[in-house]
Amino acid sequence: MSKISVLLISILIILGVGGVIGYKMWNKPFKDPLQGDAIKVTAMLLFNDFSANEAAAQKKYVPEKLGDKKVEVTGEIKDIEKNDDDETYYILKTTDEIFGVKCVMDKGHEITNAKIGNNITVRGFCDGLNSDVIVNRCKPVK
C-alpha cells in the first residue's frame, strides 16, 4: 500500500470518528431526573430556602451545568394547570398564600389522577425563584 493510500485511509478514519463523535454530541439527550442521586426536599423547605436567601438557595439547588443537580420535591398539590406548550404543571403548597413550587412535568410523565390536595413526589431540575420556585422537566417518583 502506497504512502498516499495510507494517508487517505487515515484521514477518512479521523473524519469518520470525528463525525460520529460530533453527531453524538449534537444529539446528546437531556439528563433523566430519575437517574442518579437527587436532593430530597419538601416544597415548604425549598420555597423557604429561596425566600430566606435566594443566592444561597440557587447554589444549593440549581444546576451549574446542565442537569448536574436534581431535586426530589414532596408536597401537597394546590393547583393543576397546563401551559401554552400543553405541559401539565402542579403548584405545590408552601407557607406563602399565593406562590408555591411550580413543578412542570415532562410530557407523557404526568401523574395519573392527580388531584388538588394530593401529596406527590417528583424529580426535576430547579431553575430558581421567579415568584414561584420553578422545577422543570419533572417526572413522578413511584
Binding site: 454530541m25 449534537w26 444529539n27 446528546k28 439527550p29 437531556f30 439528563k31 440557587q58 440549581v62 444546576p63 451549574e64 451545568k65 446542565l66 442537569g67 394546590k78 394547570e81 401551559n83 401554552d84 406548550d85 405541559e87 398564600e97 399565593i98 406562590f99 411550580k102 412542570v104 431553575d127 430558581g128 425563584l129 421567579n130 415568584s131 414561584d132 420553578i134 422543570n136
Partner: protein, 186 residues
C-alpha cells in the same frame, strides 16, 4: 363616632378592593426567541414568565429565569446557558415599562388595542431602554398581551465566539404572550 369609624373603614376597604382589581398577574407568560442564521435556526421557549400589569398606571413588569428557556437539543441549551447568557452569573432577565398611549385603552371594555410600551430591559446584566409595539386584548375579564420585537445580542454584551458566528444570528426575534388574570390572594 362608631358610625364614622365604620364608614371610614368601609371606604378604605372599597379603595383597597379597587386597587387589587387594577392589578393583573400571570405566572405562565410565554417568551419565545428565534435565531435565524446561515447554518441553523434556533428556537427556545420559556413558559415560566411572571408578569404584573397595573391597568391604572399602564405599567408592565416581567421577570424571566434564563434557565427556564427550553431548547430542542440539550447541547443548544447547555451552550446558551454556559457560554452566551452566563446564567449562573446573570440568572434573570427583566423588563419594567409603561404603555405610552394608555388613554387609548379601556380595560373595562372588551376589545383589541394596539399599544406601544417603553421601558428598561435588562438582559445579561445590561439595561437598555427599549420601545416596542404590542397589542392588548380585553375579553371576559381577562387581559392578553402580545408583542414581537428584536434585540441585538451585542447591545447586551453577549459574546458569540467566532467559531459559531454562523450558527447564531446577531439579532434575535422575541415574541411575548401573556394571559393575565386579576391578581387575588387565595
Amino acid at each position: 363616632m362608631k358610625k364614622i369609624t365604620a364608614a371610614i373603614f368601609i371606604a378604605f376597604l372599597i379603595i383597597s378592593i379597587n386597587a387589587i382589581a387594577q392589578t393583573f398577574f400571570t405566572r405562565n407568560g410565554r417568551i419565545t426567541f428565534f435565531s435565524k442564521a446561515p447554518i441553523e435556526n434556533i428556537e427556545a421557549n420559556n413558559n415560566e414568565v411572571t408578569s404584573i400589569l397595573d391597568t391604572q398606571k399602564g405599567e408592565f413588569v416581567f421577570a424571566v429565569l434564563i434557565k427556564s428557556f427550553k431548547f430542542q437539543k440539550a447541547l443548544m441549551e447547555e451552550h446558551f446557558n454556559e457560554n452566551y447568557m452566563e446564567s449562573n452569573t446573570f440568572p434573570k432577565a427583566n423588563f419594567k415599562g409603561t404603555i405610552t398611549d394608555l388613554s387609548k385603552i379601556n380595560f373595562s371594555k372588551e376589545g383589541y388595542y394596539p399599544v406601544t410600551v417603553k421601558g428598561d430591559l435588562t438582559i445579561h446584566g445590561v439595561t437598555k431602554t427599549i420601545e416596542v409595539p404590542g397589542t392588548i386584548t380585553v375579553s371576559q375579564g381577562k387581559i392578553n398581551a402580545h408583542s414581537e420585537f428584536s434585540v441585538k445580542v451585542k447591545d447586551y454584551n453577549i459574546k458569540i465566539p467566532a467559531i459559531v458566528i454562523n450558527n447564531i444570528a446577531e439579532t434575535l426575534d422575541i415574541t411575548v404572550d401573556c394571559k393575565y388574570e386579576p391578581y387575588k390572594k387565595n
